[in-house]
Symmetry: C2
Subunit: 692 residues, 2 copies
């Protein structure tokens, strides 16, 4: 992978002498960035440009070439790649657009590319991308002029979209955030985000990795790679809804998976996910600062109003405001001539206009042991205070490091001065108190250490029984029936109340007598998946007459089928209804979900998800994210429910889908969760096998 | 009020020749803004500065003065105001800080100010503020240099905080949003936000009013004034949480009321509320554009990635993406040489680099009848495309007006070019597609017309009965008892199941016999407010034995009281439990709230509130904001509940608190809402009277 970023020589294919030629812009870029290697230009018309000869064909280049950068019309790309292969070039960046993102024709050309690459053992980035940048050797092959935009640093970027990638380059430049490497991956036909992530993780010049993705090629691999590092990975993932899908497909041939699975997966491996660039950049700004040792903030403000706004923001983000110790306040008090200040946190500097005193106050504050971070809110009119203010902000920058606590500065001044400050300070400058506080909260909550690969805790499972049921369904080429579904989850370790399968009304009555009390009758049918829709479930039937009548009505609902089968169950009441589920996500493989039944799942979409495998602790974390969680813990005088039974249910479902590749999807709905110590029972289950 | 903004002559009191003198900065400001009136300086040391004499006392000024701007240490302010009064000056702006925001001492000085002002009939703004600006006559009295920051326009600002006010001035300037007038109101001891709002509404030079407030002086008056105008009012209201309160009190002596009441009140009178300045400014940017005629958006993007992001944002905000008609697409197609585009909405311009074609495409798009707004997403490197791009953006600006549809442009380029664009374009420039789409959604949803004063629809209420109960409680100096609470809400028109008050176990059994079926026993006690906490409620008692035992246990819970009173009610089951409430808010007076009982109110804080009075339609709107609303409408196959009974309940509660000033607070909890057509019954109620 390193040849993509550190080639000793490269050929730009598609260069002409015309001002409008995009290949020539790449050439210009390389020149302006002082690329530390040998450059060749190739273009069918030949000639010369920028002081260099343009070879008519790749074959004409006299020397060995490490990397080809190709920007010719799509239909010519396979031919050029073939030439590269013959020349012995094994790395290519294909910037040309017009492939699968346009439909079948482009798809055919892509297939050719894959073929040629395989033949010659070529790895390539793209097509439909703007290439790579390495600020450490001046490699810069986007077809857009980028000179002087950004500073060299430790942040590397992987972007599926060239345009959004440029956007991040612009922002990095404006915010004085130093960059190491950049890669736009486009249609990711050969090299994908995982290849590049792996490379950036190993790269010494990269400390922080930002990714913009619209699709994830291989979710499992991404997770596995991310787990291997403690370098922060920040991901902006779009293509979330239905409307984006069409354009996303046209744009990158990207299928969008289940967005909830994306969030779950990234969370489990410590990748910080962002839905928009602003928040990502705010986090990026604060991330290089020392970590927060605790949850206590001191706010110092030149304006009472901003102090109020910051206090609201601190409360919203769950921070505490340090109570300043008396001796500290007495010390502070000395600096004020008139008594135009009330000594509290936030500390409003009132009408104190003395930058030296500001500096001393901030330093005294940052020294306090109970202060984990200082937020300074600074409003000024640049025409008057520009110089003082710049020097002061430089000082604050130093304090962050000399006292190893993150200082967040929020500045309000005119636009021109703001952009100058951002360009010159390496310390983050926020414009709104809320942004500064939110960024600190992200810093506080971010898990900086490596996350080990978890294992599902072992549990009882009758694998042979499950395998037998699945084999039978496969052999008979039919779906898993209701009773079989219940048997499977019972074999996986979830409590299921006893049930019987009957074929006549008399058998149903006999079964009910066996259970005692009211029963439920459910139609068993290979054809009917949504039993309730056709009246296939009858609840709370008590006594011979009711059961007989129920059996007849189910028979009628089943239609003309010769042999009706009905499941008889005792009626279970009084639990909190939960839904447990599992499915095989297209991107991340087996995932498990849990939610509280009724309005919470159906209307509020209050569902938690995790990618399998996960630890028992993770199940607890997962359940705690549910809005309806207090229903389980027994909020406000209710009796607590048996959460350990829910935990076991989630683990059982996870083990089940993990152990049986044949299972596409399964639901336990509802799981009736009883009072603490009394367990939980599943009264209905649905298991769907993978289509053969 | 106009003399504050258009004085013919003014005196700045507190000027010295020193460079560090803040009064001198005010003088400088007036000079730089070319104030169109006569200026006098006053300062105890006399002398001269900026080419003008400094009078030693206000009395020394030879001519008549309309307005005094005072910036002397707090303790001298009453004296200066007295001098002003003697001189016949009736308007003052007091910028000095150090008053009630610092505690009791400052409070005393404030009291003096109020006294002096009353004596001489002086109206004053402040203290603890940065004064006013009128860009139309050059009046600019903040003690911060502000020259050249902003352009003249139609936006006026009222800010409780000087610092946050400066912040808005900075942003207005950076975004090229033209300003008319500005007022910082500080401790609002005499002139408050309502006075200024009233003035701005009447002011011909103001089209849009922005307010930053930490407290609201008189909520009812604010609502009444806001109702009188169709000028948009945008309010940034902070001081929401507990942490902000302390600093807010020190800052402006502001008591924070119930924040939910604030949101309700502002919504009812059409004031757009914002919790942060960014969103407010984004709305401010798009507000002057033509209104959206419908919900259909066309997105045109130079980058596929941004198109994906915009599509996600459109879906989130509930927009539709117009399906482009065939002839239009054929027309568009002609402009593309190579076929590097897929014709869909969002329209990704792919590798088309031709600003003339962009312009034509945008114009053709904006002309489409099914397009209500166009979002153009523009990414470029300014070094290369600066000139073309600027001209193109100017064109887009014109299209908004020539086709009377709002066009939102989102630009990604380097920081310097961005700040130049913002300074020169009058059309909004957003940096993130999400921001552009969110701003359009605000524009779509904003109600531009005047909102008439609503009236509570009339309803049955037995006022005499209610008055009698209240009078009895007042006479006996005790709270309203449980049975009386039920009687009051019954008299207000809410269904209450029959109940009896008994004093012996035998009476209880007899009452239960009368009702038939299981009953509820509740302890009636003036001392016990939370019945359930002490076991004062017994549910579902059936049969003599259970009732007798229940009565005994309630007697014991009541303690040694000689005479136990117990309420006997039939047990009501099977409804959806709601909570209706009303209270007298410190800022807005009577408000009503409603929510679904249990976890929704208690844990999810899922409550809707409205300020009384309101129309029947408003009740429906209110109920629809509840997350639990689908529980009432019968989501997912449930039977719908009797929403009209809920509506009547809300109106009854509103009429009750509206009609009886003696009521401080009341709860109907729970209101059991039965199936559609079957009404709703209140099984418990609590009425708390205003403390005498």
């Amino acid at each position: 992978m390193d040849l993509f970023f550190n080639p000793r020589s490269l050929a730009v294919v598609g260069v002409s002498a015309s001002d409008f030629n995009l290949g020539r812009r790449i050439a210009q870029n390389l020149q302006e960035f002082n690329f530390d290697g040998i450059i060749y230009y190739v273009g069918p018309k030949g000639g010369q440009t920028l002081g260099r000869r343009i070879y008519k064909a790749v074959a004409d280049i006299p020397d060995q070439v490490d990397l080809a950068v190709i920007l010719v019309p799509a239909r010519f790309v396979p031919e050029v790649l073939e030439e590269c292969g013959q020349k012995g070039i094994h790395r290519a960046i294909i910037e040309s657009a017009g492939f699968s993102e346009l439909g079948p024709e482009g798809q055919a050309v892509e297939n050719q590319l894959v073929e040629v690459a395989a033949k010659h053992d070529i790895r390539f980035i793209g097509p439909n991308c703007i290439g790579v940048i390495n600020l450490h050797n001046g490699l810069s092959v986007p077809f857009a002029g980028l000179k002087d935009i950004f500073a060299r640093g430790k942040i590397s970027i992987i972007s599926q979209s060239g345009g959004v990638g440029l956007d991040y380059l612009n922002v990095l430049g404006s915010e004085n955030l130093g960059m190491a490497k950049f890669a736009s991956i486009g249609n990711k036909l050969n090299v994908d985000e995982c290849d590049l992530l792996e490379y950036m993780i190993a790269d010494d010049q990269t400390d922080i990795i930002c990714m913009y993705l619209e699709s994830i090629a291989d979710g499992r691999r991404l997770m596995e790679i991310a787990r291997r590092t403690s370098k922060p990975i920040l991901m902006h993932k779009s293509n979330v809804g239905e409307m984006a899908k069409e354009i996303a497909q046209s744009h990158t041939a990207a299928l969008s998976g289940d967005d909830m699975a994306v969030s779950a997966a990234l969370g489990q491996v410590g990748i910080a996910r962002f839905d928009e660039s602003d928040t990502l950049v705010n986090f990026l700004k604060i991330l290089p600062l020392p970590r927060m040792g605790g949850n206590q903030i001191a706010v110092i403000s030149r304006s009472g109003g901003h102090a109020v706004i910051a206090a609201d923001a601190c409360e919203k983000s769950g921070f505490s405001l340090t109570t300043f110790p008396k001796p500290f306040l007495r010390e502070i008090e000395k600096h004020f001539r008139a008594k135009v200040i009330r000594l509290t946190n936030p500390l409003d500097l009132g009408d104190l206009f003395d930058y030296d005193v500001y500096t001393r106050i901030v330093e005294e504050t940052v020294k306090l042991p109970d202060v984990d971070s200082v937020v300074f809110l600074h409003t000024y009119i640049s025409a008057v205070e520009r110089e003082d203010s710049r020097a002061f902000l430089k000082k604050l920058e130093e304090f962050s490091y000399s006292h190893t606590k993150p200082l967040a500065t929020c500045v309000s001044t005119d636009g021109e001065e703001m952009s100058k400050l951002r360009k010159t300070l390496t310390h983050p400058v926020f414009t709104a108190p809320e942004d500064a506080v939110k960024a600190l909260a992200l810093l506080r909550d971010y898990r900086h250490d490596q996350i080990p690969q978890p294992e599902l805790p072992p549990g009882q499972m009758d694998k042979a029984r499950i395998a037998e049921i699945i084999a039978r369904c496969r052999a008979e080429e039919r779906p898993v029936l209701l009773n079989e579904g219940l048997e499977i989850i019972a074999a996986a370790g979830i409590s299921v109340p006893g049930f019987e399968v009957v074929a006549t009304a008399d058998q149903a009555v006999a079964a009910a007598d066996g259970f005692g009390g009211p029963v439920v009758l459910k139609l068993i049918s290979a054809a009917v998946s949504h039993k309730t829709d056709i009246g296939g479930v009858l609840l709370g039937l008590d006594g011979r007459q009711a059961i007989e009548r129920g059996f007849v009505s189910l028979s009628q609902a089943a239609g003309q089928a010769a042999q009706v089968k009905v499941l008889v169950q005792p009626m279970v009441e009084g639990g909190t209804e939960m839904i447990l589920g599992a499915k095989r996500d297209a991107t991340f493989g087996p995932v498990v979900l849990a939610g509280v039944g009724g309005i919470f799942v159906e209307v509020l979409k209050d569902v938690a998800m995790r990618v399998v495998p996960f630890s028992q602790d993770e199940v607890d974390k997962m359940l705690r994210t549910l809005k309806a969680y207090p229903l389980l813990t027994g909020a406000r005088g209710r009796l607590p429910r048996d959460i350990s039974a829910v935990r076991n249910g989630v683990l059982a479902v996870a083990r089940l889908i993990d152990a049986f590749d044949e299972i596409q999807e399964l639901d336990v709905n509802p799981l009736m969760v009883l009072h603490e110590g009394q367990g939980a029972v599943a009264v209905d289950a649905r298991v769907i096998l993978v289509r053969k």
